[in-house]
Symmetry: C2
Subunit: 247 residues, 2 copies
DNA sequence: CTCGAGTCAAGAGCATTGTTCATTTTGTGA
DNA sequence: TCACAAAATGAACAATGCTCTTGACTCGAG
């Protein structure tokens, strides 16, 4: 689509046309973000974006097939940004040779930090952009699991070195759950025991629940700002994982 | 507004006018629900509702000031429905003299059950219906905390009888957090120690995070259906609260 | 019984939206 | 220079939320 002929653009100097094309796409997304930040995701108006660019609204459709597709692209960007910061934190934690507890804390706090600094993005990512959820963009899922992968790796390292010792699956339905987690592990080549994956889910759901309630102003007002609450919650998760927080 | 004169309507036979008024309001809400269930919350069209009622769209504005206000009313209804079922479960658990663990499980599973059976409602409740979140309808908040109150009472009873023993707040910022939780307890006359309220938040965030990720199809596909995962998560929460699940 | 205040609904209308389509302009490679 | 493809236009369609005016209806007080 980008190149009108069959030449692959990657190993050749990008033509000027393609450059400005990418740039316009970026500008559209940029303006869309600022508009979303002010009025919320579903108040985004393609016409307003076009207006602000000095374009006609119909011209936008050369760059994005529909409003929904634009929102999808924005969601991919947002998930990507979150994943980038998490990976960066992971790298630094590795360089600094942090122990399991502090490493876990660094990652989860960075997760929340990003969400607090990008509330609009977070809402777009996790607040149903579209009606049909199951057939979301594959790119969206990929970027999303790039972020979750940092969590699973954190678990993997901790379990491997013995600093994290998740409790065995002890509920009545443990068999079925273990099977499902195993399927997940196989599909994504995670090479993690079911216990570790379960612990990862435990962390993620706690993480997301806390952040989501905080961002959507559902927490009782006295607990705001919620930094302390969040740190406590993550400490509890650590305890449940058999790690003593703040050792 | 409902009564044109100063008479309080509660201790007098409701006038016919008021009856049909309430009924129309109810019908509007009913139709709005079915429409939301099909197409999602932001695809709700007042005109379509009016059309289906054989009315003009402008007539609707005699019953709801705006689309936003209608959505607010729906959210109140939804929160109320959730709170009702939770209170019902609480009552049954009390009658059956359940122990702390099973009682906790009954309540949290009922919470999820409701969410799974009313996904559209749940999205409307927790998925930012409006832009400004801080000045939400007071009625909305009230109905919402009526549901949360079931959780806090569950904690209160458990702590009182010693079956729930939440760990002391041990993080560095414990002082501040405890103060905030105390403020919350005072404001709502909960008469609960900070530890119990912290445990309650731990439960609620976990609960909401798990349900929200499940409903919004963010969990990795192999773990669906997520009943087993949810039960495991709640079991872990119980463990963290010092209660042995499935005792 | 009558009349007037209060209520309800209709219908036209405004500003706005997403999206399409035929047309024109513009840039670029040969 | 020229032809062709990409880019941008402007008009149009169908739909939305919401307002305003205008005409009916209800119902209780005089």
């Amino acid at each position: 689509m980008l190149c009108h002929n069959g030449v692959i653009a990657s190993d050749v100097i990008p033509r000027r046309r393609d450059r400005v094309r990418i740039e316009t796409r970026a500008e559209i997304k940029r303006l869309a973000w600022t508009q979303i930040a002010q009025e919320g995701a579903d108040a985004l108006s393609l016409r307003a974006v076009a207006r602000e660019m000095g374009m006609t609204s119909s011209a936008l459709y050369r760059y994005f097939e529909s409003k929904e597709q634009l929102l999808d692209a924005l969601a991919v960007e947002a998930f990507g940004s979150l994943a980038d910061t998490l990976e960066e934190v992971e790298r630094r934690a590795h360089d600094d040779e942090l122990e399991a507890g502090p490493r876990f804390m660094a990652i989860t706090c960075a997760y929340r930090q990003w969400a607090v600094e990008h509330p609009t993005e977070y809402r777009l990512m996790f607040g149903v952009p579209v009606a049909d959820l199951d057939d979301r963009n594959e790119a969206t899922k990929a970027e999303m699991y790039r972020g979750v992968a940092v969590l699973t790796r954190c678990m993997a390292v901790g379990v491997a070195e013995g600093s994290i010792q998740p409790a065995p699956l002890a509920i009545a339905q443990a068999e079925r759950l273990a099977g499902r987690l195993q399927m997940w592990s196989d599909r994504d080549d995670l090479h993690l025991p079911a216990e570790a994956l379960a612990a990862c889910m435990f962390t993620w759901t706690q993480l997301h629940g806390a952040i989501s309630l905080e961002l959507f102003s559902h927490l009782p007002t006295p607990v705001y700002p919620a930094d302390d609450l969040f740190e406590y919650l993550m400490g509890e998760v650590l305890r449940a994982l058999g790690v003593h927080p703040r050792l």
